[in-house]
């Protein structure tokens, strides 16, 4: 898939949607679930494929909102834009998942999963797996020792291609 341009507001112009790419892959990649976008979420995944972490914002009053949705809960506008973020954040909380899990997940268990609050807007939080460094977007989910994790630890978004046309953000530990 290719992204050919981005209008001033709204959805980037693309050849193929991430939703179609996920359908083409049967919703799974190596036994792991791919994100199954809805109409509102599609732009997030499009930008992730370009290595950008963007969040939906109201084009009228500017309120950022996550998860994406049709209307602004504050001013009720249906006009939206996708605003870039620095991709930097801090661990808000984390779990370490142990079996029973689906088989492909159990193979990597125990693995940590974090909720990260963004430096640009701490009320925007994203779930993600962790990687030891920004240079290792494809590191196994269990590559970060749990002893390195703590609430408040700084992280940076990196992007892993899971299937053709489908990328997900992950969180790399950075030095404070």
């Amino acid at each position: 898939m290719s992204v050919t341009g981005t209008p001033a507001t709204g959805v980037p112009v693309t050849g193929t949607s991430v939703t179609e790419a996920v359908h083409a892959a049967g919703g799974m990649a190596g036994g792991l679930l791919l994100p199954w976008p809805d109409t509102d979420g599609e732009p997030f995944w499009q930008y992730a494929l370009r290595g950008e972490l963007r969040v939906q914002a109201c084009a009228d009053c500017g309120l950022r909102r996550f998860p994406p949705r049709p209307a602004c809960p504050r001013c009720h506008s249906f006009a939206d834009e996708w605003r870039p973020t620095s991709g930097r954040g801090r661990i808000w909380s984390f779990v370490v998942a142990h079996p029973p899990l689906l088989p492909a997940y159990a193979e990597q268990a125990p693995y940590p999963v974090a909720v990260v609050e963004l430096d640009d807007d701490p009320t925007i939080r994203l779930v993600g797996t962790l990687t030891p460094s920004v240079r290792r977007p494809d590191a196994p989910w269990n590559a970060v020792p749990v002893s390195r994790l703590r609430i408040g630890a700084p992280v940076q978004a990196v992007y892993q291609i899971l299937a053709p046309g489908v990328a997900v953000p992950r969180w790399a530990l950075t030095t404070p």
Binding site: G27, W36, P67, V96, A97, Y105, Q108, P110, T123, I151
Partner: protein
């Protein structure tokens, strides 16, 4: 106002076990007929039905099997275990407003021998699962563990506090022959050495996986006086879906640790003559141990951040400040989406619990916290 205008006059249930042979539909019919028999009401008089959206036995199948009459009210409540108390609340509203006269609420589930819902990969709900499941946050236990760690971080709660919850429920189950864990005591050593499910939650922080069915019967207070059993009045009832709440994965608002309990509680107490200080025993939804401190705060038994400390010193045990889940709850009696908490609330107010709170006159029953929820304040 609903205040004491309706009452629960019958309760029924099947056995609870990891595996029951009969299908869910059969179990549903058995529980409903047992509840009607307990009330002394002919099934032909039933004209209202209420259950969960996740219930697999539908109204048509149930009504024709139990020999119900013409049904004039039926409702379903969503969000899994968050709907348990709402089923009774809807019947109370229907009876109080003249839409029906004899209501039955029920839940039948083979969660013990059946599938775990989170293993389903073909039905991936796009919102909000696209924001969690691809990242390995697969199960309800993972979703609640995330909130639990944050809660422990903010308020200094420890695994010992969660153990207090697990132990209180297990101790009550050890007094209840109908409980799955009747003959299985729990020790602190067992808890601390248990395998992890999703850190910081271990095996004993998770509810059981149970086959079973339960039901109860709701009629007007007037009719209740002629029934076989002592009436248990529905003093107040509430549902709660807070502003900007996200079911289970409530990570995306300003204050993720104040969940639906807070919303339901405000309405519950507003429409009641009683307050948290008047509650003799509480049946609090316990799919996971952290839901207890969160609910204790939400329903006003203590202040924000004090729920974990509240569990200290045997407060949740029989004889403690607030005996909870006196039949063992979802953690140790059986997990049937919280309906067993309703029936135990009724038994407490009849004086027939296996862990009877002396002279219990008021019981709070809550539905799933962390999802759009509901609650009942019962009195005798």
């Amino acid at each position: 106002m609903l205040k004491d205008r309706t009452a629960i006059v019958g309760i029924g249930q099947t056995r609870f076990a990891k595996t029951l042979d009969e299908p869910e539909k059969t179990l549903a019919c058995r529980a409903v007929l047992a509840a009607l028999d307990d009330a002394g009401i002919d099934p032909a008089e039933v004209d209202a039905l209420a259950s969960y959206t996740m219930e697999e036995t539908d109204e048509v199948e149930l009504a024709k099997s139990i020999g119900a009459g013409d049904i004039t009210f039926f409702s379903r409540t969503g969000f899994g275990g968050g709907g348990s108390c709402a089923t009774v609340a809807h019947l109370a509203m229907a009876v109080a407003t003249g839409q029906a006269s004899v209501g039955v609420a029920w839940r039948s589930r083979k969660r013990g021998s059946g599938v775990r819902p989170w293993t389903n990969t073909s039905v991936q709900l796009p919102t909000p699962a696209q924001w969690t499941r691809p990242f390995g946050l697969l199960r309800p236990a993972d979703e609640i563990a995330m909130l639990a760690r944050r809660y422990m971080h903010e308020y200094g709660a420890t695994r010992d506090h969660l153990f207090n919850v697990a132990l209180a429920c297990r101790n009550r189950a050890n007094q209840n022959p109908a409980a799955v864990m009747y003959d299985r005591p729990l020790t602190r050593e067992m808890y601390m050495d248990a395998r992890w499910i999703s850190e910081p939650l271990c095996l004993y922080d998770n509810c059981l996986e149970t086959d079973g069915a339960l039901a109860c019967v709701v009629v007007s207070a007037e009719r209740a006086r002629d029934c076989r059993q002592r009436a248990v009045y529905i003093h107040s009832a509430a549902q709660g879906l807070p502003a900007q709440h996200h079911g289970m994965v409530n990570y995306w608002n300003d204050d993720p640790l104040t969940g639906p309990a807070w919303t339901a509680a405000r309405h519950l107490w507003k429409t009641a003559d009683l307050g948290p200080q008047d509650v003799d025993t509480a049946q609090i939804y316990d799919a996971f141990t952290p839901l207890i401190p969160l609910s204790l705060e939400g329903y006003g038994f203590c202040g924000r951040g004090e729920g974990a400390a509240y569990t200290e010193g045997g407060a949740l045990e029989l004889g403690g400040r607030l005996p909870i889940n006196t039949a063992g709850g979802g953690l140790s009696e059986g997990y049937v989406h919280g309906f067993n908490l309703i029936n135990e609330g009724v038994r407490q107010l009849r004086g027939s619990s296996t862990s009877q709170v002396p002279d219990a006159a008021t019981c709070l029953v809550t539905a799933g916290e962390g999802v759009p929820t509901s609650a009942l304040l019962l009195r005798n």
